[in-house]
């Protein structure tokens, strides 16, 4: 049995102390260290032998092996809320027909698995590797037809019309996400998140699948070219320079007013105090 030293059953005598001491002496951390080593070995053996490595080889083919892997992952991590057959439940909607794009978005942004069930899902640490996400997506896509993960060509926004993208953004997106995508409030504690870190793929998928409260902007009403224009605008404007100085959050007059009261009026009033103070 690993982790336990056998203690010699002798009472220590002065002469045997130095000889036996080393055999009995244990570092306080010894147990913990050995446990860790043991677990790592077990875990390593497990992952080496249970085919995770082989899964990555079959990650993108959409074939039965990937779907099976996806189903495995789904049963472990998702079925408790979404149902064994992804039919949904009291706390989670059905995933039948949501498409690979929805899974790629939700799991890829860390929204799923849902951290706090009563609140709106929010971007967070991603719990799965990309291969696992693709497997999950393939599984859900296999249940019923739904929006697919956008192809590289669909995501190529570099030649899209930047100005038209701005017009489309202001017409379809700014009312929830704010004029530069800084985010905004919706009813009942929900919110449209900031678009500062969303990747082009995630933006595309969000428009396509309408996550949580967000409406669905299908390719039939917002064609791929328009989506590309919007993506180009978002990715460009969010890192655009602020020629006037600090952006103050790009939230509009509220932060500007706060800044004025604290910094502007504060500075000028402080100087007024200096003027009125007796000189030493």
């Amino acid at each position: 049995m690993i982790g336990r030293s056998v203690r010699a059953d002798t009472t220590p005598t002065p002469s045997s102390v130095s000889a036996k001491l080393s055999a009995r002496r244990r570092h306080p951390f010894a147990t913990a260290l050995v446990l860790m080593v043991g677990l790592s070995v077990m875990g390593g053996l497990y992952s080496a032998l249970t085919g995770a490595g082989t899964a990555s080889a079959a990650a993108t083919d959409g074939g039965p092996q990937q779907i099976a892997q996806g189903r495995e992952l789904f049963l472990e991590g998702c079925a408790s809320c979404h149902g064994l057959n992804a039919q949904g439940g009291s706390t989670a909607p059905t995933l039948i027909g949501v498409g690979a794009a929805a899974v790629d978005f939700q799991v890829g942004t860390g929204r799923m698995p849902l951290a706090a069930p009563s609140q709106q899902a929010r971007r967070g640490p991603v719990s799965y590797t990309q291969e696992q996400i693709s497997a999950l997506a393939a599984y859900v896509a296999s249940l019923a037809p739904g929006p697919a993960i956008p192809s590289a060509e669909e995501l190529n926004y570099l030649n899209a019309n930047l100005q038209e993208g701005g017009e489309l953004f202001r017409t379809n997106c700014a009312q929830c996400h704010n004029f530069t995508g800084a985010g905004g409030a919706l009813s009942s504690g929900q919110f449209a998140p900031s678009l500062k870190v969303a990747t082009p793929k995630q933006i595309f998928e969000a428009m396509l699948t309408g996550p949580q409260a967000m409406p669905v902007f299908a390719n039939s009403t917002v064609p791929v070219e328009e989506k590309q224009a919007i993506i180009r605008y978002i990715t460009s404007i969010r890192s655009s320079p602020n020629p006037g100085g600090m952006s103050l959050g790009r939230l509009g007059p509220v932060s500007e007013g706060l800044f004025l009261w604290i910094v502007g009026l504060g500075a000028v009033t402080a100087i007024a105090v200096w003027i009125g103070a007796k000189s030493s």
Binding site: R170, A174, F179, A185, V268
Partner: protein, 560 residues
């Protein structure tokens, strides 16, 4: 005339002065006023911030007016800002983009103008609060108070007009709201809205009209009113805080020339400089990010500039009450928060000096300011109004608060709806109690001196804390202030046995007077003060005697 050498500049100056004096008689004015005394407290400079900001606004505004095109004609933009290249927009917006991107220093001037506007309104607000809490609006300054109130209202309108001129999405939304408010006014609303906008919204007349209001009509009125405001301050002389040497009949401070000129003139440059520095490092009103105004678009987080936030908050918090009867619609949900509430607040603000004078019956002139604690009811009313104002202000930001503090806008709205009724009276009570407590402490200080923190143990074993009398200067400050008593209705018959006629408002007046002054802490009378001094002397004599005759010396901690 001077003890310096008469160099060429002095000679030339003398000649110029001579020239002007022979034509304008300026020496008569100067002889009286060059040494005019101005008190030097920092809180007296808040109004100056507003004045200097106004000058900055005039200067920067003139620059902008040379480049801005106040026209709603649609053009296609082809300037430097790539994101809007080829987009249709009004000339007003296009010229604003040109100022921002294609005129050197244009963005700086735009930002200076806007930051100065925000500073102007903030300065007026804190200046108003200072005047209110120190009672500087009392006779003979009621007229100046009224002028100041008008300046406040005009400033709000002027600011709204100014930031609406660029015709961007955010301010255009604000104009839409303004039009909806006007349209909803009972009886005359639709006519007024059509008149103002030259037809339906948005029309093509409004920006040019707003421009003339913004660059000519209101600035002219503000300039005239500021002149009157300053002339009154000049003639009536500034008020001052009570203190040693300061009475109702004098004014203590520094002479206009050279000290006050240097300080006030220097402060102008400071305000100007700070505004420009702000404009160098902090972005304000980036209209290019909003896009041009079109009635089909809107952004999340649509708020007006800060000084209108309370009106927006009132609109958000108001429940949706609308009365439909006899083919007419009375939109109380819009009318009350945008017309009735501001109407009540501004009227109450304007009439306050007269109300307070009515409640005290005090017709004296006042040139010494009150310490806020000595007028607890007034101070309470002031903090209560501020609480109400701030709550409305927060209401206007409810969606920004919701996103940043992870709350629900619905819950915030409901909470504020309750708080605007519950919190102000609470603030009033707390403030009044606080003021009375401070008054008691002041009285205590006058009679017993202040605690020095030095503990002495007497040979008898008694511990005492050494109290020191307040300095003469502080005694003056603590004694200052009138303690009013509530007015009573005089019903005693005069020498002919005729009772005075009961005037209709007497009962109300007595009640309001009681509300103001029923609870006051009286100041120690001179006799009481003398007695307290004797008492203190006697006490210290007795302790000294103990120490002299005592066995062990007094020690601080009681042991050795």
């Amino acid at each position: 005339m001077t003890t310096h050498e008469t160099g060429p500049i002095v000679k030339a100056g003398g000649a110029a002065a001579d020239y002007v004096d022979e034509r304008v008689g300026v020496s008569k004015f100067l002889k009286k006023n060059l040494t005019k005394v101005f008190p030097d407290h920092w809180s007296f400079m808040l109004g100056e911030i507003a004045l200097y900001s106004f000058i900055v606004l005039l200067l920067s505004g003139t620059f902008l007016a040379l480049f801005f095109k106040p026209s709603m004609t649609e053009v296609t933009y082809h300037g430097s800002y790539v994101y809007l290249d080829g987009i249709r927009m009004s000339e007003a917006y296009a010229s604003t983009l040109d100022i921002s991107f294609d005129v050197r220093g244009g963005l700086l001037m735009r930002q200076v103008h806007h930051w100065a506007a925000l500073l102007f309104m903030a300065a007026i607000t804190v200046h108003l609060m200072r005047v209110f809490f120190t009672g500087a609006f009392r006779k003979p300054r009621e007229l100046n108070w009224l002028i100041g109130n008008i300046l406040l209202t005009m400033g709000i309108l002027e600011g709204f007009a100014g930031y609406s001129l660029p015709d961007d999405l955010l301010s255009g939304t604000g104009l839409r709201i303004a039009q909806g408010i006007v349209q909803g006014i009972p009886v005359v609303g639709t006519y007024a809205a059509m008149m103002i906008f030259g037809g339906q919204f948005p029309g093509t007349d409004f920006i040019p009209r707003l421009y003339i209001v913004h660059v000519l009509l209101i600035p002219g009125a503000i300039l005239g009113l500021i002149t009157a405001h300053l002339m009154l301050v000049w003639y009536q002389k500034h008020t001052q805080f009570p203190g040693p040497g300061r009475t109702e009949r004098n004014v203590v401070g520094y002479p206009l020339f050279p000290v006050y000129t240097a300080k006030a003139g220097g402060f102008f440059f400071i305000v100007f400089g700070v505004t420009v520095l702000l404009s160098a490092v902090a972005s304000i009103n980036p209209v290019w990010l909003f896009g041009p105004y079109t009635p089909t678009q809107i952004t999340a987080g649509s708020q007006p500039d800060w000084y209108m936030g309370w009106l927006d908050g009132a609109l958000r918090l108001m429940p949706n009450v609308e009365i439909n009867a006899w083919g007419r619609t009375l939109s109380l949900n819009v009318f009350i928060p945008s017309v009735v509430i501001p109407g009540i607040i501004f009227t109450a603000l304007a009439l306050y000096p007269f109300l307070e004078q009515w409640a005290t019956g005090d017709k004296r002139e006042h040139h010494l300011l009150d310490r806020p604690r000595n007028m607890p009811t007034r101070t309470g009313i002031g903090t209560m109004s501020l609480a109400f104002y701030v709550l409305l202000w927060i209401g206007g930001d409810n969606d920004i608060i919701a996103t940043h503090f992870d709350m629900s806008i619905n819950q915030i709205t409901w909470a504020l709806r309750v708080m605007v009724f519950v919190v102000p009276p609470l603030v009033f009570v707390i403030t009044k109690r606080f003021c009375l407590a401070l008054q008691r402490r002041d009285r205590d200080k006058l009679l017993h001196g202040y605690e020095t923190g030095t503990i002495m143990r007497m040979p008898s074993g008694e511990y005492i804390e050494v109290h020191a009398p307040v300095s003469d200067e502080e005694r003056v400050k603590l004694l200052a202030g009138r303690v009013y008593r509530p007015l009573e209705i005089d019903r005693e018959p005069d020498e002919n046995g005729v009772r005075p006629k009961r005037k209709p408002l007497d009962a109300a007046r007595a009640r309001i007077s009681a509300f103001y002054y029923a609870e006051q802490i009286s100041k120690p009378t001179p006799d009481e003060l003398t007695e307290a001094e004797h008492h203190a002397l006697a006490l210290s004599d007795s302790y000294a005697a103990q120490v002299e005759s005592g066995v062990s010396p007094p020690s601080v901690d009681g042991g050795h």
